[in-house]
Amino acid sequence: MAELFHRKIERSSIGFAIAIVAAASVGGIIEIAPLFTIDGTVEEAPDMRVYTPLELAGRNIYVREGCYACHSQMIRTLQDEVERYGPYSLAVESKYDRPMQWGSKRTGPDLARIGGKYSDFWHVAHLMNPRDVVPESNMPAYAYLARTPLNLNDLSQHLAVQQTLGVPYTDEMVENAARDAYGQAVPDTDFASGVSERYGEATQVRAFDGVATQVTEMDALVAYLQVLGRLTTAAYQNTAAPELPPEPVE
């Protein structure tokens, strides 16, 4: 019977094509659609905040440089990972991440909770030339980030698209994106106060690259690295995780 049936569809290219699409659609539909409907797939985290424009710009540099090729941002539910890197990652922690950067290869260590672990100064030195601080490292040098001024012009457009996609940026945030990015990396200006107003007192406002006169790509990337794992404290609650969220380092 089955074989007879097959001999039949084998004679019709359109029929065959439809059969392929039908057979190939099932798996994806059953695995993807429920991720939008099943309760708790993305955990509740009322304290979750959005990326500031500077951090988002930094994230885009992370994406542009393909850091995911070596670094994961996903602490798995395994004892050794929790003990090495901190509480396992929750889905909610990447709910504003487009694209997610969970990664698939750890040539370097996981970065999901790198925020606050090292000083800005260290990050800058490390990105300038990793082997200056970690002689064993095979990470590339990213010295050009410190030489490249950050493009602030289109940040409002970035936030606007994110807003369309459901990230809770207010219109005010969208409008002030460039100013806020500037203010976050140049602390002694009027723009700096707006950042804390809009994104919360805990927002780290400082000259991330150590130069308080200019906003570079280095500023943005370090600002992003320093906020990784610190958008919400949800991962530290109701888990056996021994630690509390790390305090910021100046």
Partner: protein
């Protein structure tokens, strides 16, 4: 146009179709493959019964074993903590002297501290804790912030120049850049500092400069580094008379230090590491400093 043929090699019939010379035999699916199919399906279906598997609208089947990766790992982490408990508890609560006297416990500190140091501290202080430019050597027995596990523990908890409310503050001002000293004065005091560890530098042609520098030092620097330049743990001002340098002891680096100032950042570990881990690392670092004076 089906023309079935017999394949001389296998003796099987072809299906009777032909595509540019390619034919197919009508061999039935081998038994082994069917068996394999059945075995893997049984295995899979068993998993579906035991583990969470099938989505159902707003929920999913939880499986008979009631397992979930999150509860599993949390149990494992707690088990791990319990397995370490006997000695971890001692490290957490016993006085340092008592632990230092217990060679067995110190052995554990050395073997377990290594990874913890490697994953948290080595980025700055190096895998061997010997430091490098801008990051202090922790094995040289020379301490900026005081020796002994208590002082080290405090440094780890609050950090240096962090936002921690009790942070240690060690600010070497930017005398040159901020205009507190003239260019000449900067060079002079640097020469003086350099001469402290390089007596051969005090040649007749330098001696004038060095003396002028000594003057500046007494007026400006001694507040933190002490009259003799031996440093002060309170101010976090390093000893300038020994040959251990945080930023470098050549004349150019000293000039750069005095001109631009230094504010080393040592993060706080209060909330990233547990109490016991911090104490273990204090012992570990103290032990390193003691073993290789």
């Amino acid at each position: 146009m089906e023309v079935k043929e017999q394949d001389p090699v296998t003796g099987r019939e072809t299906t009777g179709h032909e595509w540019n010379g390619i034919k197919e035999l009508d061999t039935p699916v081998p038994r082994g493959i069917l068996l394999f199919l059945i075995v893997t399906h049984i295995w899979a279906v068993a998993w579906w019964f035991f583990a969470p598997t099938w989505p159902l609208g707003t929920t999913y089947t939880k499986g008979l074993l009631g397992i979930d990766q999150r509860t599993t790992v949390e149990e494992r982490v707690v088990e791990g903590q319990q397995a370490r408990q006997d000695w971890m508890a001692r490290i957490e609560s016993e006085p340092y002297d008592q632990i230092l006297a217990d060679e067995n416990l110190m052995q554990i500190v050395r073997s377990s501290g290594r990874q913890l140091f490697g994953d948290n501290c080595a980025a700055c202080h190096g895998r061997d804790a010997r430091g490098r430019a801008n990051y202090p050597d922790l094995t040289d027995g020379d301490w900026i912030w005081g020796s002994g596990p208590e002082a080290i523990e405090q440094t780890m908890r609050v950090g240096v120049n962090t936002e921690h409310p009790e942070s240690r503050i060690g600010q070497m001002p930017a005398f040159g850049r901020d205009g507190m000293l003239e260019r000449d004065q900067v060079r002079a005091v640097a020469a003086y500092v350099y001469s402290l560890t390089h007596p051969e530098f005090s040649t007749p042609e330098n001696v004038e400069r060095i003396e002028a520098g000594q003057q500046v030092f007494a007026e400006t620097c001694s507040a933190c580094h002490g009259e003799t330049g031996e440093g002060s743990a309170e101010a976090g001002a390093p000893n300038l008379t020994d040959n251990y340098w945080l930023y470098g002891g050549d004349l150019d680096t000293i000039i750069a230090t005095v001109h631009g100032g230094r504010q080393g950042h040592m993060p706080t570990w209060d909330e990233r590491l547990t109490n016991a881990e911090i104490r273990m690392l204090s012992l570990y670092v103290h032990d390193l400093g003691n073993r290789q004076p």
